[in-house]
């Protein structure tokens, strides 16, 4: 298309020359196309530079380029592998016959780009025309020879203003054509953003959409960001500032690096940063922590069974599984701060439904006031922020002048067994309107295997005790206690209870076990490695082990330990990777799993009655030892290998249990 001078051309050319500070273009290209304007030499009173965020691109033959150039691009514009590009398509070029200088446009119905792709990589387009009768814009991905691979067209009538394509897995990595085209339509032309990046730019852009920076009418009240891994980026902070200013509440996962280094977007101003706790309310071993954490929520920890329900502490998450007819909706137990953040976002959504004007400022105030969480000692900690989200408390806080009063159990569930604890006391907390009288019905039905004692005066509590004589051996049992109470209304509190009388001691078998004396300092790879080890299978439900002192007077075997300081640990190596005590592997530490202590081995050592317990689930974390566990970055104990050079030693030790 040949450039045709018009009013926009003149206006743009003039502005470029004026912007060139004395007549020389700082961009390397002079703004020809208009008359020269000679500016007198002048004292510089204001100067500076404007930086551009990395990977930002603009369509080279967008409107101003077409106006100023002779021809639109005849070759596809080359783009990097990662970019955000601002573009423009317009079909007609005739004057509209109006007085508006912006009412006619250079014709540019199609843009072509040459973009490096990896199989599976996706590229997205968003138009900025919100007219239901607006133009259809098609995004197409083609091979360089023009063969079309994928395309998608916007659907303005149905308010779909975006499109995306991805390179099929059957295609090889390399350069491909990306074509953006518009159908025949009346002006105005359509601006669009094309993005192919996994970085901050895409997040900032995507935050803008639900935050209605571009879209009239807010599309979201709460944004949950179960993602992270970014450094601090001003553009990201600006985007967050904008959506928060628009009344949107932003929640983000603190990250899983077991680090105190601020991780973004969680650590950004205006974002609720959520760390993860296990079922016992202790910080999960993987969770980030630090003064930038705002609050915590359940995220799971596969290494633990903190609520003693016989299952690893995982968060049941919506997922998909592959069945005979393809992928089917399913649930999967997962762990991560990605699982913790939605708990908070969900509670905030419940609150928002009751208090539509709820915003970030109000939530910050309530959070600091302890109205949203189970508080931590001192008001705030680096692990849990202001504490773990308490949904009942938080939702009640969102009700102005709550007229209801409820009871809440802490802990919310009870697990008893002959191997752990036979009795437990549960606090019954009064939430909501504290002026209402509350009376608990002392008649609490329970099965014969459970004795229940109620303390019916404040502070309310209930104590449950296992009646071993009434239990069948090795058969797990469950029940749910119903605590009836009367306050502003008659209500029922349900407390689930699980219990088991375990007697199969001789049949127990946790699989082949390695018992190690590991150095207390990590090796060059950061691993705690065995100085001595023995391995064995269970006999009558137990493992017997022994180590000899290697005093240098005889040939040492694996079971000989030199004098020194060690940790005594044991466990299985399910995946034969030469490391025990990883997720899904049995583990035991001396004297108590989770709180290992140094054993000094010398000629005077005489510890022959050591008793340890191993298993596939991890112990309850004691609130008395909050700083002992979890151990951030714990990766298991490394076995001593028979051949330390070359490759890992072949082992015939399987995963039999």
């Amino acid at each position: 298309m040949v450039y045709r001078a018009n009013r926009i051309a003149t206006a743009l050319a003039l502005s470029l020359i004026l912007g060139a500070c004395g007549g020389s273009s700082s961009s390397g290209e002079s703004g020809d196309g208009g008359s020269d304007v000679l500016l007198p030499p002048a004292r510089i009173v204001l100067a500076g530079t404007i930086g551009v965020e990395a990977n930002t691109r603009v369509d080279a033959d967008t409107a101003d380029g077409l106006v100023l150039g002779e021809l639109p691009l005849t070759e596809p514009q080359l783009l990097p592998a990662s970019f955000i590009l601002a573009g423009y398509v317009s079909f007609r070029d005739e004057s509209r016959g109006t007085n508006s200088p912006f009412d006619d446009f250079p014709k540019d119905p199609e843009d072509q780009f040459q973009v490096p792709f990896e199989p599976g990589e996706r590229l997205s387009l968003r138009t900025f025309s919100e007219m239901a009768g607006g133009p259809l814009v098609t995004l197409a991905l083609r091979r360089l020879d023009g063969t079309e691979l994928e395309s998608q067209t916007t659907d303005p009538i149905n308010k779909m203003f975006s499109a995306s394509v991805s390179l099929p897995a059957t295609e090889g990595a390399g350069d491909y054509l990306v074509v953006v085209s518009a159908d025949d339509f009346d002006p105005p032309p359509v601006r669009y953003v094309l993005l192919k990046t996994a970085g901050a730019q895409s997040l900032a852009l995507n935050l803008d959409w639900p935050g209605h920076a571009f879209v009239p009418g807010r599309a979201a009240d709460i944004i949950n960001l179960s993602l992270g891994g970014l450094p601090e980026i001003p553009a990201l902070q600006n985007a967050i500032d904008e959506v928060v200013a628009n009344g949107v509440i932003v929640v983000a996962a603190a990250g899983n690096q077991a680090s105190s280094s601020p991780a973004y977007p969680a650590a950004a101003e205006g974002v609720f940063s959520v760390s993860a706790v296990d079922a016992g309310g202790s910080l999960a071993g993987y969770s980030n922590f630090g003064p930038w954490i705002d609050l915590a929520a359940p995220g799971g920890d596969v290494r633990r069974d903190a609520n003693l329900d016989g299952l690893a502490d995982l968060v049941i998450s919506s997922s998909a599984s592959l069945g005979p007819d393809g992928f089917e909706p399913d649930y999967t137990g997962l762990q991560g701060t990605s699982m913790a953040a939605p708990h908070v976002a969900g509670v905030f959504a419940l609150m928002k439904s009751l208090k539509p004007d709820l915003n970030t400022g109000t939530l910050v105030s309530w959070l600091a006031g302890g109205q949203l969480t189970t508080p931590v000692p001192g008001g705030r900690s680096g692990a849990l922020g202001y504490g773990t989200i308490d949904s009942a408390k938080a939702v009640l806080a969102a009700i102005d002048n709550p007229s209801i009063t409820i009871l809440s159990a802490s802990p919310a569930a009870i697990s008893l067994s002959s191997e752990t604890r036979l009795s437990q006391t549960v606090e019954l907390l009064v939430l909501g309107d504290q002026t209402n009288n509350l009376v608990i019905n002392p008649a609490i039905a329970s099965p014969a295997w459970l004795d229940v004692t109620l303390s019916a005066v404040r502070p309310f509590s209930i104590t449950v005790t296992l009646n071993e004589q009434a239990l069948e051996e090795d058969v797990p049992v469950r029940t749910s206690l119903e605590v009836n109470y009367t306050t502003d209304s008659t209500r029922v509190l349900h407390i689930p209870v699980v219990a088991e009388l375990v007697t199969d001691e001789n049949a127990r078998n946790a699989g082949r076990h390695f018992v190690l004396l590991v150095y207390t300092e990590p090796n060059e790879q950061g691993q705690l490695e065995a100085a001595a080890q023995v391995s064995m299978t269970a006999v009558n439900g137990t493992y017997q082990f022994g180590f000899r002192l290697n005093d240098g007077t005889q040939g040492a075997s694996f079971a000989d330990v030199p004098p020194g300081d060690y940790y005594l640990v044991a466990g299985s190596d399910l995946d034969n990777d030469g490391i025990i005590c990883q997720s899904g592997e049995a583990c035991a530490e001396y004297p108590v799993t989770g709180m290992r202590e140094v054993i000094t081995v010398d000629e005077n050592t005489d510890l022959k009655d050591i008793r340890m317990a191993t298993g596939y689930f991890r112990p309850t974390i004691s609130t008395a030892t909050p700083d002992v566990l979890p151990r951030p970055g714990f990766t298991g104990y490394k076995l001593k290998m028979p051949h330390s050079h070359g490759v890992a030693a072949p082992k015939k030790i399987g995963v039999e249990r």
């Binding site: 999967t332 997962l334 995946d575 899904g584």
Partner: protein
């Protein structure tokens, strides 16, 4: 997220006259499934010759893999090898089979895998993953199986 690769990857070296004593068309290894959530937390190998052993590996917590595809493997004819990347703090990791070869009768089976990791600074889901690939190999009495690509040094297993 579970990904199924049903394609039989042609193993490098299969056409060699030194191919282990199997039929001329028998593959040395085929990728049965991949998963980001195998539940095995260490980089390593787990060899499966019996349904009971397979069930042990399918009973792990934090797991989401295509169970049916694994159970369809006839363990009389093929054994399964779980090649695990180990626990990672985010999404974005995967393991896939690249090649397999055995230089002669009684020699080790050598597998090469490719590991895909998120680029530094990439935004990722903050979910703990444990990526793996499960490979079916002929049910021979392999003296040794070596896998390259997971660590700097080969992972080695004597089934």
């Amino acid at each position: 997220m579970v990904t199924l690769l049903t394609g039989y990857l042609l193993a490098a070296g299969c056409a060699s006259s030194d191919v282990i004593e199997t039929g001329p068309d028998e593959l040395l290894a085929r990728q049965v499934i991949q998963s980001a959530h195998c539940g095995l937390s260490g980089p390593g190998l787990a060899y499966v010759q019996t349904p009971e052993r397979l069930q042990q590996l399918l009973d792990l917590p934090a797991q989401n893999i295509a169970v049916q595809q694994l159970r369809q493997v006839d363990l009389e004819k093929e054994h399964l090898l779980f090649i695990t990347l180990g626990e990672k703090p985010t999404g974005g990791y995967s393991v896939s089979l690249v090649s397999a070869n055995a230089e002669g009768t009684g020699s080790p089976l050598r597998l090469a895998v490719a590991v895909r990791s998120p680029a530094p600074g990439t935004m990722t889901t903050q979910v703990i993953t444990s990526a793996c690939v499960v490979v079916a190999v002929p049910a021979h009495d392999w003296p040794e199986i070596r896998v390259s690509g997971i660590r700097d040094k080969d992972l080695v297993l004597a089934p």
